[in-house]
């Protein structure tokens, strides 16, 4: 899993069935200390994350199937948590 920040959203009405009713957020990858890694990815939300939230993202198909409850969805990047705080030893 990796840490990211929700910076935007993608709206799409014509899409694969697996995406029905799912929110697609733009997530910027972060270093644990919060600095941007200058890379963004689209992730399906499953925890009602909003813009500005620091989130936990999984990027693997099996977990995406588990979280979305779908059988073999064409999805691999899913937001699985909204992070309250991160403590990293210096």
């Amino acid at each position: 899993m990796f840490i990211g920040r929700v910076i935007g959203e993608v709206v799409s009405t014509v899409h694969h069935d697996a995406m029905n009713g799912r929110k697609l957020l733009i997530v910027e990858r972060l270093d644990p200390d919060g600095t941007s890694l200058d890379e963004t990815i689209l992730a399906v939300d499953s925890v009602q994350a909003g813009r500005g939230d620091t989130v936990l993202v999984v990027d693997e198909g099996g977990s995406a199937a588990l979280v979305t409850g779908l059988d073999n969805p064409p999805i691999r990047t899913v937001i699985v948590g909204v992070i309250d705080s991160i403590d990293v030893e210096e």
């Binding site: 935007g8 993608v10 694969h16 733009i26 813009r51 198909g61 073999n72 999805i75």
Partner: protein, 96 residues
């Protein structure tokens, strides 16, 4: 998943059976600000996207799951056509 623009189409009559009847489009991956990033690739189309359209695609093993039967060699699949992209509350697409 990543944003991309459809820039072309690929026809290949001689191909593995599991790709028969599947539309293959050339897409240019984009950043969230719609800047080109990385090299164009070929993705199977599951939403009847057309050249010029902004789409999003999934890569690797999950791409094959966008098709049926799911046992196929596709490693990139377009799974949605984009209507809006907002970043930081600002509309990036369509441009106002």
């Amino acid at each position: 998943m990543h944003l991309a623009r459809v820039i072309g189409t690929v026809w290949a009559t001689a191909k593995v059976d599991s790709l028969t009847g599947k539309r293959m489009l050339v897409v240019q991956p984009l950043t969230h600000l719609l800047e080109e990033r990385g090299t164009p690739l070929v993705a199977v189309d599951t939403v009847s996207a057309a050249p010029g359209q902004l789409v999003y695609f999934v890569k690797s093993r999950e791409a094959a799951k966008a098709l049926s039967p799911t046992f196929n060699p596709a490693d990139a699949a377009i799974v949605g056509i984009v209507d809006h992209v907002t970043v930081g509350g600002e509309s990036i697409f369509p441009k106002e």
